[in-house]
């Protein structure tokens, strides 16, 4: 069975794309709004014809926190909510700069990284 024939729900399809290094999100065929996280029905209007597309990957930090952690456990790290240009918000983490430099409004680009073989969406400051 090739990848195209494989049956999977939206959660599995989303993760499979991430594992292949691609970010895809859904858009509703009825109300035209973008949807995240992946679902079988649209939470805005209740329609069931959602389809996948690749967002531009541009966004900004909507809110942010530094989770404090001891140095031996890996040190402090960033957890944030990012709003993509397509209008959806998602939890992520800004990597590559120290967590205290991540502020609300910081412009970011999404990036898919592999952790233990699984794709994960993170962000880089622009």
């Amino acid at each position: 069975m090739n990848e195209a024939q494989q049956v999977s729900g939206p959660e599995e399809a989303y993760q499979r794309a991430l594992d292949a290094g691609r970010l895809i999100i859904q858009r509703c065929g009825e109300c035209d709004r973008s949807v995240f996280y992946p679902r079988t029905i649209c939470p805005h209007c209740g329609a069931n014809n959602l389809s996948w597309f690749s967002p531009m990957g541009d966004g900004h930090v909507y809110s942010t926190t530094t989770v404090r952690r001891s140095q031996e456990d890996g040190g402090d790290y960033n957890v944030c909510i990012v709003e993509l240009a397509e209008g959806v918000r998602l939890m992520s983490s800004v990597r590559g700069i120290s967590p205290d430099r991540v502020i609300i409004g910081t412009k970011v680009r999404t990036k898919v990284v592999k952790i233990d073989g699984k794709g994960l969406l993170v962000c880089e400051a622009k």
């Binding site: 989770v67 404090r68 909510i81 992520s92 205290d100």
Partner: protein, 375 residues
């Protein structure tokens, strides 16, 4: 109440039963008179079964909905409907947790819950929940409205100043704004003093129809209005981080009670974190959106202030066994009875209770309780 603070050596069902016994005796009833049961627990999915079995109850009305810490405020609504429909005559609402001293630790329980009920789109980023979700909410509120860490600290100091008047409170040591600001940071902008306690504790109360409650030994508190609202589960799916479902639950409670914010004498607000009371005074109409920080910093919620908040010390300083809602109701009833000793606020006739639940102010349940003067 029973086992508040540390109940070392006891299990959660044991202190729950002690609290239930105390509440039933206080109501002048016997266990056999209880024919309705409302209860919930974070670890057991079918908790009403555990409680009915332990207490030897065969209730005709059972309610076990768990929407987080607000559950025991939310239970007031189905209990009220069941009583007025004649399904039962005396409803026991009860909760207990030994999360602080349980030998099966908090970390193991939290990990087990995360495995059974994952949040797959948030979990990979390792938010330290619940603090990180409320921290994200606080950071956004600070960004939009200029709320400061000092404003947050004022909430903790107000709670502590009430706890100092309550011999049963867990944390009673003097606390200053600087103590809060300089404490160990957990998840910015929260230090440990912006986060609620982790204690053991059990609480219970009994609900009856108003006509039947008149003949009981204690003066009853009357349920004047109740409303519940759920909008989301995770913080990443909260439509506006500065607005909670308390706007809806509050509106419903005011409408049922035929009251407005200026009819309320006192607030019992679920203060899981210092941002919560700030959000709730805004969403429940005591000040405008964005002004909650300066509103509380003005001192009017402290002892002697015009609008007392959390007269027992709240979850920040009195007791917080994982779900706090039942204790907010109990403190409201105690204040309406005039049974609060040094912390008693004179002329308390209408108390608003706001329960909060979930990792991101996800569920809100607002109740308005009144003395006989409000009928």
């Amino acid at each position: 109440m029973a086992g508040c603070g540390e109940a070392r050596g006891y299990s959660e069902i044991e202190i729950l039963a002690q609290a239930a016994h105390a509440a039933i005796s206080d109501a002048g009833l016997r266990l056999q008179d209880i024919d309705g049961l409302c209860t919930a627990n974070l670890n057991a999915a079918m908790w009403p079964l555990n409680v009915a079995e332990y207490l030897g109850l065969r209730p005709s009305f059972i309610e076990g909905t768990n929407i987080g810490g607000s559950a025991f405020v939310a239970h007031l609504q189905p209990a009220m409907l069941a009583l007025s429909a004649g399904l039962c005559n005396a409803v026991l609402v009860c909760y207990g947790s030994t999360q602080r001293t349980a030998t099966f630790g908090r970390k193991a329980r939290a990990a087990a819950r995360n495995m059974l009920d994952p949040a797959p789109f948030d979990a990979p980023y390792q938010p330290f929940n619940p603090p990180s979700s409320y921290a994200l909410i606080a950071a956004r509120h600070m960004h939009e409205f200029g709320t400061t860490r000092q404003h947050l600290a004022e909430v903790a100091v107000s709670a502590r100043s009430w706890a100092q008047l309550n011999p049963a409170a867990f944390s009673r040591k003097a606390l200053t704004i600087d103590d809060v600001l300089n404490a160990r940071m957990v998840s910015d902008p929260f230090t440990v003093h912006d986060c609620c306690l982790v204690t053991d504790g059990a609480g219970a109360f009994v609900m009856m129809r108003a006509d039947a409650a008149k003949d009981r030994p204690q003066r009853p508190a009357y349920l004047l209005g109740i409303g519940t609202a759920v909008w989301h589960r995770t913080v990443s799916n909260m439509a506006d981080l500065a607005v909670t479902p308390a706007q809806d639950s509050g509106r419903r409670a005011y409408a049922m009670a035929g009251m407005q914010p200026n009819d309320i004498d006192m607030l019992q607000l679920y203060d899981a974190f210092t941002i919560n009371p700030i959000l709730f005074v805004e969403d429940l109409g005591f000040c405008r959106k964005g002004e909650g920080g300066p509103f509380i910093a003005s001192g009017l919620t402290r002892p002697g202030g015009k609008l007392p908040i959390n007269t027992n010390g709240g979850g920040l300083s009195c007791v917080q066994p994982n779900m706090y809602g039942v204790f907010a109701v109990i403190e409201a009833v105690q204040q309406l009875r005039g049974a609060c000793g040094d912390r008693q606020v004179a002329n308390t006739n209408a108390v608003l209770v706001n329960g909060n639940g979930g990792n991101a102010a996800s569920s809100q349940s607002t109740a308005i309780l009144g003395s006989s003067a409000t009928l």
